[in-house]
Symmetry: C2
Subunit: 391 residues, 2 copies
């Protein structure tokens, strides 16, 4: 048995990790815009990258290296180094060549697509790095773009024999409406003594129900990255505990991203059950969480269940009007052909939609497939943020 | 040879057709909310319906009748009669039973999903119908829901031998961003002497490049309907001319719907070429026209071509950073790895984006597939309209 407890220190909660954020002048007003994560010893790496065909230079650079260990990650915000071709790769090489006493450094970028990195500013900025610093909150602030708040978490896993290991993480991402610009980045550190392949398998599995439950299939940005670094410093490992803790870390960060959806005021869970398969449930849940009409109805706190039904029907999966059930939290508004949506029910549902968090459930009544997706509403602030992102 | 000329009279431009709109009190303030189309003699019918699994009662009712001719279509707005089960079908039967001296009347509905039709108001309203009226503009106004303007067109086809036939049409639909609520309806009349099956084949073909080029695959509403009625009154037919004229009619109405996209200020053509297949080009074009980030960039008149590239990459089709070309009208901003996006180019593109109409072109450089889709921007007005549609 084991116990998972919350702790502090973000990516530095894991033994032997250091991190900080500095200002290199990429953002205005001396805001933090560059970060590093450093480990005393070399780390095994597990990774998940975007499925976007136009994946950015940092991802190309990482992939070109094949299998390797690292003890250093360099991150910049404001510029994604995407659609920059061979020049973008050469920029990374040149920047990383200015780092001393680190092994196989990795670079990760987020921001505007289609512009060369401000190389000199970055190289100058790196001179501020102090690898003895443990300032995880500064690091998490430095990687923000349109994020309204920084996102970090750390958990400690205590095993029965008194031994323990930790997982710490930071992420950036907002506007999970469509992450094509949000470019989610997530950096996870652990001192657990986990084997590389096992770590990769667990990361892949956990990604499905966390980060991949907050975005629409394949509709990922050029830079989306999850990196998991293990330096094995604790000498301790327990597979079940590791997996559970990693899920908690990634689930928390995924919901933080939804909560920070650009202009979002509500966090909605779409709980789909009774689908022909888990895959069909996933399609429905993500179609709902991505529907503009559902999103705007959420914003207006309008319990317009007809849009839910129409969106289920439009998702293309097996579904029938006479088998469908739709609920807002515990209030069932439509039950297999029976409309329960009188004035009183409308009032009850409007109260539910007034909450910051609630669940919309759809039981398709055709099988045993289920999936939970997470989404937010879409309001004026989303338009404001995205109408002129680059300026 | 033949000549196609614009004429007046909407759905009444075709010989033998009558139409009018009345107010039955479904909408507030005595607005027109019910319409009919009547033909002196029975019409062959071609139809295209939504692919939504939750298709509405009027469509079920139509399909249950099998093959038939009609001379009467009854249309109401404000209530879609969708998700209403067997009761919804019985409501239609009861309403239509009050019509006299018409053959196999069809009912079509648009509006809120998930509420029973206000049957008595509709039955009372029908008493105002005068089948000798030719008021196509009233009819087209009566079928509007969130439309900012009514949509109608009529074309006359003049053959070399002096004979002619006409095609007239009206449509409703706005917010082609995602038509799950917009519920597009289109009614087309013709006095051409066209055979039923040929008419259906041509309608299917023309739908692909018109109404289906303004919405995302399958993401259609519960009620989407195109009805083409032919009473053969002219005794004249020419296949090429008919097809060309029908395309012009449907293309015009499709673009009118985009132009009337809820809160839309711009009409954008997404011209995709060089795809592996026409189908892949279609996927890219529709993914672009549906992208929230592209739409909000359009609204902000921000020539953020990186979002275009990222969306192409996210669409899942074969595409490469080093083969892609992106242009705003004639200005190529990205040419197979070469960034042409300096300050001067940005200004030029911003000018293009200031126009009410422009084209964004993407050449994928991998094959010969091409497709044109049409879209609009997304701004604050969209949020206003959809946040509280039902009230």
């Amino acid at each position: 048995m084991y116990k998972i407890v919350q702790t502090t220190g973000g990516v530095c909660a894991s033994n032997g990790f250091y991190a900080d954020g500095i200002s290199a002048g990429l953002k205005k007003n001396n805001a933090l815009d560059m970060a590093f994560i450093y480990s005393e010893n070399e780390c095994e790496i597990a990774s998940v990258f975007t499925t976007n065909k136009m994946y950015a230079a940092p991802i190309k650079h990482f992939r070109a290296k094949g299998s390797f260990k690292t003890n250093f990650v360099l991150i910049n915000s404001k510029n994604a180094n995407a659609m920059t071709g061979q020049a973008g790769l050469e920029d990374i090489d040149e920047i990383l060549s200015h780092l001393e006493n680190v092994t196989n450094p990795i670079m990760s970028s987020t921001g505007v697509i289609g512009a060369r990195l401000p190389k000199q500013k970055i190289i100058e900025g790196m001179k501020q790095f102090d690898l003895t610093k443990r300032e995880p909150s500064s690091a998490s602030k430095a990687i923000m773009t349109t994020d309204a708040f920084s996102k970090e978490i750390a958990l400690k896993v205590e095993l029965d024999d008194g031994k323990s290991f930790s997982i710490g993480a930071m992420a950036k991402g907002a506007g999970m409406i469509n992450p094509a610009m949000a470019t989610m980045l997530c950096f996870i550190t652990t001192d657990a003594d986990v084997a590389k392949q096992e770590m990769q398998d667990i990361l892949d599995e956990v990604t499905k129900t966390t980060f991949n439950a907050i975005s629409v299939d394949g509709d990922t940005s050029t830079n989306d990255t999850v990196l998991l670094l293990s330096n094995a410093k604790s000498g301790v490992y327990d597979a079940d505990a590791f997996k559970e803790a990693l899920f908690k870390v990634m689930h928390f960060l995924a919901l933080e991203m939804v909560r920070d959806g650009e202009g979002a005021t509500k966090l909605v869970t779409y709980k789909v059950s009774g689908a022909k398969s888990d895959r069909e449930a996933e399609i429905v849940a993500k179609t709902l969480s991505d529907s503009l009409l559902v999103k705007t109805a959420l914003y207006g706190e309008d319990p317009n269940w007809g849009r839910i039904a129409s969106t289920v029907g439009a998702s293309g999966v097996e579904a029938y009007e006479e088998k469908l059930k739709i609920s807002f939290d515990t209030h069932c508004v439509y039950d297999k052909g029976v409309l329960n949506f009188d004035e009183e029910m409308e009032k009850k549902c409007a109260i539910v939609m007034g909450h910051k968090k609630f669940t919309i459930s759809c039981d398709l009544g055709v099988g045993k497939g289920s999936f939970k997706a997470y989404g937010c509403d879409l309001g004026h602030e989303y338009v404001n943020i995205n109408a002129d992102y680059r300026t």
